[in-house]
Structures are given as structure tokens and as C-alpha cells.
């Protein structure tokens, strides 16, 4: 659909992710490294789930469409579970790495806290997931045509972009909540993360009724975002302070450096 749609969808899908990267991650090389490692872990999970999918499709009956649909649902569920498994694996790896980093570094304190690692790894998952969602759609959006000659909905590009933005934000929030619950051994909140991930993925089966899939997804984004905010130490009081610009006084009162 030409260059304007290409850039529009790119900015919609990757806008928040780029902003977060620029302002919070780009300056610190350690964070960049952990971001890329997180992206790689997501890629590994995708590779494994696609391998299983490929094998099951080959041995299945290609003609029967109900079997194919069932395989699709199976594939989605498997992929979600594998992603969360790899997220857990990344968490374990980071815990071990943190001890090693502490031994190596000259300072007494850890250069990067587990909470920051949670945020960075979640964003890494989100980047890679968004890239795989959007890149081939963006490549086709550059041409002069739009979807629809076979009767499909015209709003495919736009809704894919919004969905991708939601997924990236969700991965980031899930990362924070996941690591926090692993730290605190709250297994039930871990289960809620997995279930919400499954829920969002299964909501996409509603497409092409894009309203039916996007609206609940954004509601979930908002809720999980709130939960992640509280997990990472935010509170309503802090929010009010920031918004009413009374934070300077607060800091002075608490002798905290900026």
C-alpha cells in the first residue's frame, strides 16, 4: 500500500519499543547485551515449536481442514508454553550469571538488578516477537496494492500493527511479573502470566473480526501493565507525586540523589 502505510505501520508496531530502547537501554551496554540474549532465547523457543509443528503437519492428513485447524490450535498452545518455558530458563540462567558477574566486578554491588533484567529480557522477547510478526507484512505493505481482492478485510495491516504493539508491551510486562514471581516464589502469579499469554494468543483466532481480538487484548495489556507497575515498586502515591510535579520535594525530603 505504498510507503506511507509502511512507515505508519512500522511506527505503530515498533514505536513504544523504539522509544523504550532509546531512552532506557541504549546507553548501558550491559542492558543491550541482555536484551539481545533475551531475543535469542525467544528465537530458540520459536525454532523448537516450529520444528514440532512442521513434523506434525507432515504426518497429518493435509486434506482434512478440521484436522489442520486442530493442529493450528495445538501449535499455538505449544508455542506459548515453550516461550514461557524458555523465559523461565532465561531467568535461571540470569540468576547464575548474576553470581558470576558479582565475582568478576570490582564493586561490591551488582551492576544490574534482577528487576532491570526482568524488564530488559521482557523487552528482548517483545522485540523478536514483534519482528517475526510484522516484518513480512511490512515488506508486502510497500507495494501499491492492499489486501482485499479475494474478499479479506482491508484493515489487515493496521490491525496487525496494533496487535504487534500490544504483544511487545505484553512481553515486557510479562517479563517483569514473571521474574518477580520467580523471585518471590509466587507460583500462582506465574500461572496467571501463562494463562494470560494463552488467552491473548487464542484471542487472535477471532480474526478477521479485528475488534473482537484487539479490544480484549488491549484491556489485558492495561491490566497486566498495572500489575507489572505495582510489582516493580510503583504505587499510586508515587504516580500522583510525579504527575503533580512534587517529586523534587519528595526527593529532597528523602535525601535521595537524582
Amino acid at each position: 500500500m505504498t510507503a506511507s502505510v509502511f512507515f505508519g505501520c512500522t511506527f505503530i508496531a515498533f514505536g513504544p519499543a523504539i522509544a523504550l530502547f532509546l531512552f532506557t537501554i541504549a546507553r548501558d551496554p550491559l542492558r543491550v547485551i541482555f536484551l539481545i540474549a533475551g531475543a535469542f532465547f525467544w528465537l530458540c523457543s520459536l525454532l523448537l515449536s516450529s520444528l514440532v509443528w512442521f513434523i506434525t503437519v507432515q504426518i497429518s492428513n493435509k486434506e482434512s481442514s478440521s484436522q489442520q485447524k486442530g493442529l493450528l490450535i495445538f501449535g499455538v498452545v505449544l508455542s506459548v508454553l515453550l516461550q514461557e518455558t524458555f523465559r523461565f530458563g532465561y531467568y535461571k540462567l540470569l540468576k547464575k550469571a548474576n553470581e558470576g558477574l558479582l565475582m568478576l566486578s570490582a564493586e561490591e554491588t551488582m551492576p544490574i538488578s534482577i528487576r532491570q533484567l526482568a524488564y530488559v529480557s521482557g523487552l528482548g522477547f517483545g522485540f523478536m516477537s514483534g519482528a517475526f510478526s510484522m516484518v513480512n507484512i511490512l515488506a508486502d505493505s510497500v507495494g501499491p496494492g492492499t489486501i482485499g481482492i479475494h474478499g479479506d478485510s482491508q484493515h489487515y495491516f493496521l490491525s496487525s500493527a496494533f496487535m504487534t504493539m500490544a504483544i511487545i508491551l505484553l512481553h515486557m510486562f510479562w517479563g517483569v511479573v514473571f521474574f518477580d514471581s520467580c523471585e518471590k516464589q509466587h507460583w500462582w502469579s506465574l500461572a496467571v502470566v501463562v494463562i494470560s499469554h494463552l488467552l491473548v494468543s487464542c484471542l487472535t483466532f477471532q480474526n478477521p473480526q479485528y475488534v473482537g481480538s484487539l479490544v480484549p487484548t488491549y484491556i489485558i495489556v492495561f491490566l497486566v501493565g498495572l500489575w507489572a507497575f505495582f510489582c516493580s515498586g510503583g504505587s499510586l502515591r508515587n504516580l500522583k507525586l510525579c504527575l503533580t510535579c512534587k517529586d523534587k520535594d519528595f526527593l529532597l525530603a528523602n535525601h535521595r540523589p537524582r
Binding site: 520459536l46 503437519v57 489486501i147
Partner: protein, 708 residues
């Protein structure tokens, strides 16, 4: 049916889709949801000569336009002025493919992105995209030679010609067949592009994109100069000269290494042309225009074979088939040039007379006409010889159903290869044609000049092999013409008068040739006469395509199918089968009685005997040769020549066509605006959060040394 890409792709990503595609399951990629490729299209390409460029051009990234199916000439104001969504891609039925509509679109070409013409299976009453006066500048008539006869002042040969083939369009013009693809396009137009009650149609609209970017511009000297620029290891060529090979054969063989004038040698030349053209690239059937002529000549050559072995005539007879005659006489000008410069086995002084077979689509009972050049006949010797030739021809029609008549008025020769011979030297000659003045051919040089134009019909219940053998009425008429030509040639060459009535052309051979050249070239007889390494040229694009005749466009690849077919047919019909083995056939000089200089030795496939699968291949010895038919202008480097043909064809990278929906500009801008807004908002919010992070996330139980 569930579509893969509708589901959130981050779960089953491109790699899965890629594997899916590898395993031959229908590949639902996003591109397939947007574009529908059109496969059965033929473009119009750009040709250049010394002074002009003709044909069509698209921009390098294709031309996109909203489809509009034209209903009448008055409807043209929608794409040209009233329509709100220019540029338009105009879809025409063939009845609307006229000069006035195309010229109107050419004048408003900023609103027309391209034209697609739907070519039906049935022909319109008449249509000829060629000019009214074919080859008017390279014939013999000019301001110096018969000035009142030049430029069709006395007779307009092709009055139905609208000259579209020689116009220049700066938008692409493609042709579509009447099949499912075209139905899909029209349905897409009806669903999306129709204006309801005068209001503008709503987006998304159905659009078509045509790619046919041509590399050559301006004219032949420019593009040949650009061919010579050597910037890199692989220089980019932009155009190629049109040309192929002429086929010639003779009753008595000539030594192929001895060129120039031959003492005491007097030759009667029988000529026909091989090629034709159409508005679109390569799609040319030329049934009446060229096939009727050369099939008659081939049948006459076969009819003469026996009698010239028994009682050879005093003069030699040379059968010449010229390629490229449509484009300013490429083949015949080259042969005359070779004769003038001693590069051919005989020269112009050896020529006694010329008999050329023009368009001879005769129906039983109609007459044929003998055209001659009035200017050269002012010379008495030439006039006497022409009268002698006319007599020989007219006396050969005894017992046949038609007469040969000379036209009443003094008119010039029709466009024919004889004109190039006359340009060099006054030679007595006759052109045999079915028209007294203007052409009878209603589809001269168009894609409708096909088997139906010759009334070539077969009963419907015959298999292809049975059709091959079935003797049609057209074949019977052409056989009679071939008989007349053969008898006249024998008499003209001084043969024994008493044997003339034994010369008869074979209707079976004629009908097989007509079937092979006009209906299906991939038949058992053509397969039998061809060489094994050339058998694939008989069937284009693989075996599963429905039967089709060969293309008669001369082209640039020097590998035209009709040339090869005529070469092998002439060899089989006039030559002799030998007992040589395949290796002997390739090196015949080792044998005592065979000489490669006198004959050409061709290894042909032969027929399949009834009880076996192996072909009975054998070696044919015939005095049939190919000579290069590229215009002398390219040999001499005179790319702006006014005397010789300077036609070249442009090169291109790829040619394709596709249809899709386009969205409105507003929606696209809205998407861009939303994207930019999202980006700015997220930048602002992130900046805000990151500067206040330690306040926002401060209510933690972690020690105060946690660094953010």
C-alpha cells in the same frame, strides 16, 4: 477455512509458513492475498528504426491504474476527463480497439496508465493495424523511379490499415485472452469500480499494474551507439537488430564456396516471404499474408522434383524464402546486397526472371492476378520477357478452375521482394496475388489473420492425426495454384514442353503443411521431417499446452521456427534420402561421392514404424542452404540508412501484469499520521517515565543501593 496469517503471527512465524510452502501445501503468503498475477498476457514492445521509435513503453516500476471497462467510445470521457480517480487502466473489447479511441487516449496520456485489449476467439469484420502503404520507403518506387506510382498514389494497397502498429504510445498496451482471468478482472471491476447513480465509486478500487519497461529510446543509431558503451565486464545491450535466415534451394546444386558471377548460368528465381507481424509482440499468424505464399511455393518445389530429375531444364530454378520482409525487406535486401557484392553463389546478371508468390488465398472459381512493374517494362527486352512469363503462367492453368489475369490499369507492384531486385537492376518479374488492386486480406498483419481467415475448417469429430491427413478445400485450391506455379517455372526454365502436364502438386502434402503451419506445429509429420535436436521448437512451452501454430514474427534471436521448418521441409521435399549413418551424415566429405560444398546433409528423425518405438532416422541430402538475413545497414554500420531496413527491437528486463485493490490516499495518510502520533507519544511518555523512574518505582523493599 482458517488462514495461517490471520492468527497472531508471532506464534507461528514466517519460518513455519516457509516450511509450509516447501512442503507443497498451498502457500497463503500475504502477497498472494494482495496480488493476482495475470499469466496469459502479451505485451506490445518497442521497435526502433533510423528515425523513429514505435510501440509501447511503461515506467520502470510499472504503471498502475484503476480499471475501467470501456463500454463505448462515448464512455471514454470517464477515464479521460470525468473520472475522479485517475490514472485509469482502460480495458477494451477488440471492437473498440480502433485508431480513434487509441489516439484519444494517447493525447490524454497523463490520465491513462495503460490499456488492456481483450482478444476474442472470433474475428471482427476487418482489422489491420499495419499502415495503408506497407514498406513505402524501401520499395523500388521513389521520386526517381515511377514518382507517380510511389507512396501509393495510384493504388492504396492496404486501405483498411489504421497504422496502430506504427504509432508510439507512452503507456503499456497488453492483450488478454477471453478466459477465466479476464472474467475475474471484469468481476473485480463490477464489484468495486462501478459508479452508483453518478456518484464516485468508493475505495478500495480494483487496479491493474503493467510492467513492460523498454530500454531503448529514440531511434536505432542512438540505441546501437549505447550498445557499444563498455562500462563494465558485461555491457548492457539495449536493442538488437531484427533478422533471421533466408532459406534457398535449387534444382541443380551450387558450390557453396564459389561466390559471384557464374558464366553461362541463367536462373529463374521463385520467391516467397516467410514472416508477418501483429500489433502485439510475437503473436502473428500471417495465414493469408505469408503462409499461403510459401506453402504454395513448397508444394511447387515438390511437384518439380521428379520431372527435373528425369528431364532437367536448361536454366536452373532457385527457390528463395525471405525472412523479415515485413520490416522493410530485410531478407531480400540482404540477398540483393550479397549478390551485388559477390557474396552469393550467383549474382544479379545470372537472374533470368523472378516469379514471386504473394498473398494467394484463393477460393475456387476466383481468379488470380499477375502484377508486374510498369516502369521496367518500358524497356523492350524486359517487357518481352515479362510477356513470355505471363504466357507460361496463363497456359499452365489448363484444366483448372481459375484463370490468371493481368490487372487492367497500369499500377505499381504490390509490396513484394521483387521490388528490391528491381532497385538493383531491371529484372523481368511477376508477383502472383489474389487481389487485383487493394488487398483482399481483411486482417493484413494482424493477429486475426489465422486459419479461419483462410476458411480452413475441419469436421469436428476428427482426432489431431486425422485432421493432419484430411484434405480441406483450402488445400485443394492451393494445390491447384502450386501446380500452375510449378508448370510455369518448368516452362520458364526451358524444360521439355511435353512433360509439363505431368507436373502436379500433391494435395496431401499441401494439407499437411497447412495443418502444421496454421493449426498445430507439433504433429507427426513435422516431427518426422525435423532434426532430433530441433524437435522441441515445434511445441512451445512444454507439452501440456493446447496445440498451437508457430509464430511468424522475425524476432532477434536468429532461431525462428518457421525458418527451420521451411528449411527441413524443402530439404525433404526436394532432396534425396541417403543410406548414410549419422556420423557419416555429419562428415560426408570422407565418402567419395558426397560433398558438403554442393549439398547440405541433414539428419532427420523420420517416422515411427507401426510396431516399434524407435524412430527411423535417416540422412537427407539436399541443395538447401540458409543465408543470413540481417539488414545490410548493420553490416555496413549505417544505422541511419535510408536504403536498407534499420529495424531493431528493444530489450527489457521483465514483463508482467497483475491486479489488486488500492486503498484511498486518505486512509494511507491516516495510517502514517497515527504511526507518527504513536511514535511521538511513546517517546514523550518514555522520556517522562525514565527521568522520574527513581520516584515512580521507589516504594520497594530493596536496599537503597539498588541502581536504576
Amino acid at each position: 477455512r482458517m488462514n495461517l496469517d490471520e492468527i497472531s503471527c508471532d506464534k507461528l512465524a514466517t519460518s513455519i509458513v516457509f516450511f509450509f510452502c516447501l512442503s507443497d501445501v498451498s502457500c497463503n503468503s500475504v502477497e498472494q492475498k494482495i496480488y493476482v498475477e495475470l499469466n496469459n498476457t502479451v505485451p506490445c514492445v518497442r521497435l526502433l528504426n533510423a528515425t523513429h521509435q514505435i510501440g509501447c513503453q511503461s515506467s520502470i516500476s510499472g504503471d498502475t491504474g484503476v480499471i475501467h471497462v470501456l463500454e463505448s467510445e462515448a464512455d471514454l470521457e470517464w477515464p479521460l476527463s470525468k473520472g475522479p480517480n485517475p490514472p485509469y487502466m482502460v480495458l477494451l473489447e477488440s471492437s473498440l480497439f480502433t485508431r480513434s479511441i487509441m489516439m484519444k487516449m494517447k493525447n490524454e496520456s497523463n490520465r491513462v496508465a495503460g490499456v488492456a485489449v481483450v482478444v476474442p476467439n472470433t474475428s471482427p469484420p476487418e482489422f489491420s493495424p499495419h499502415t495503408t502503404c506497407p514498406n513505402e520507403n524501401t520499395g523500388v518506387y521513389s521520386d526517381n523511379y515511377g514518382p507517380n506510382l510511389a507512396h501509393c498514389n495510384t493504388t492504396v494497397w492496404n486501405p483498411r490499415g489504421n497504422g496502430l502498429s506504427y504509432e508510439e504510445f507512452d503507456f503499456p498496451v497488453f492483450s488478454l485472452k477471453e478466459d477465466n482471468e479476464t472474467e475475474f478482472i471484469k468481476q473485480c471491476y463490477l464489484d468495486h469500480n462501478r459508479a452508483v447513480n453518478g456518484s464516485a465509486p468508493q475505495y478500495p478500487l480494483c487496479a491493474m499494474q503493467l510492467f513492460s519497461h523498454m530500454h531503448a529510446v529514440t531511434n536505432t543509431p542512438t540505441c546501437m551507439r549505447r550498445n557499444d558503451i563498455n562500462f563494465s565486464i558485461n555491457p548492457e545491450m539495449v536493442c538488437d537488430p531484427l533478422g533471421d535466415y533466408n532459406v534457398w534451394g535449387s534444382i541443380r546444386p551450387y558450390n557453396d564456396t564459389v561466390f559471384g558471377h557464374k558464366e553461362n548460368e541463367s536462373v529463374v528465381i521463385a520467391a516467397a516471404r516467410l514472416d508477418s507481424r501483429a500489433f502485439f509482440w510475437e503473436v502473428s499468424t500471417g495465414a493469408e499474408g505469408s503462409v499461403s505464399g510459401f506453402v504454395t511455393l513448397l508444394a511447387a518445389a515438390q511437384a518439380l522434383r521428379e520431372v527435373t530429375h528425369e528431364a532437367p531444364p536448361t536454366r536452373n530454378i532457385l527457390f528463395a524464402f525471405f525472412q523479415g520482409e515485413t520490416f522493410d525487406y530485410i531478407g531480400s535486401s540482404r540477398m540483393v546486397y550479397d549478390m551485388e557484392n559477390g557474396k552469393f553463389v550467383i549474382d544479379l546478371d545470372n537472374i533470368h526472371s523472378v516469379l514471386e508468390i504473394g498473398q494467394v488465398a484463393v477460393h475456387s472459381g476466383t481468379n488470380l492476378f499477375l502484377h508486374s512493374d510498369p516502369v521496367s517494362r518500358r524497356n523492350n527486352t524486359v517487357n518481352d520477357e515479362v510477356k513470355n512469363l505471363v504466357n507460361n503462367l496463363q497456359s499452365s492453368t489448363a484444366g483448372l478452375s481459375f484463370l490468371l489475369v493481368e490487372p487492367n490499369v497500369s499500377q505499381p507492384l504490390p509490396p513484394s521482394s521483387l521490388q528490391r531486385f528491381l532497385r538493383a537492376q531491371p529484372i523481368p518479374g511477376i508477383v502472383l496475388a489474389d487481389h487485383e488492386s487493394a488487398f483482399n486480406n481483411r486482417y493484413y498483419e494482424s493477429f486475426y489473420d489465422n486459419a479461419a481467415n483462410l476458411n480452413l475448417t475441419y469436421p469436428s469429430d476428427l482426432s489431431p492425426e486425422e485432421q493432419l491427413e484430411f484434405v480441406t478445400d483450402t488445400a485443394k485450391s492451393l494445390t491447384d495454384v502450386a501446380t500452375v506455379v510449378a508448370r510455369a517455372l518448368y516452362k520458364q526454365a526451358g524444360g521439355n514442353e511435353s512433360l509439363v502436364n505431368n507436373i502436379k502438386a500433391d494435395p496431401k502434402i499441401v494439407t499437411q503443411m497447412l495443418y502444421g503451419f496454421l493449426v498445430s506445429s507439433n504433429n507427426s509429420w513435422f516431427q518426422a521431417v525435423m532434426a532430433p535436436e530441433l524437435k522441441n521448437i515445434l511445441s512451445r512451452y512444454g507439452a501440456c499446452v493446447h496445440p498451437s501454430p508457430p509464430e511468424y514474427y522475425v524476432g532477434v534471436a536468429m532461431s525462428s521456427t518457421p525458418t527451420r521448418l521451411v528449411q527441413y521441409l524443402l530439404a525433404n521435399l526436394t532432396g534425396a534420402a541417403t543410406n548414410l549413418t549419422q556420423s557419416q551424415c555429419q562428415k560426408p566429405d570422407e565418402l567419395p561421392n558426397e560433398s558438403r560444398q554442393m549439398y547440405s546433409y541433414l539428419w532427420v528423425q523420420g517416422i515411427v514404424p507401426p510396431n516399434s518405438t524407435e524412430r527411423d532416422s535417416f540422412c537427407v541430402r539436399a541443395s538447401v542452404r540458409l543465408t543470413k538475413a540481417v539488414s545490410p545497414a548493420f553490416e555496413l554500420g549505417e544505422y541511419a540508412s535510408k536504403d536498407y531496413s534499420t529495424w531493431t527491437e528493444s530489450r527489457w528486463k521483465f514483463i508482467k501484469a497483475r491486479i489488486f485493490l488500492v486503498a484511498s490516499r486518505d486512509l494511507e495518510m491516516l495510517t502514517l499520521g497515527v504511526g507518527v502520533a504513536v511514535l511521538f507519544t511513546s517517546l514523550l511518555v518514555t522520556y517522562f517515565i525514565s527521568t522520574k523512574a527513581d520516584v515512580l518505582f521507589s516504594s520497594t523493599r530493596e536496599p537503597a543501593s539498588a541502581a536504576y
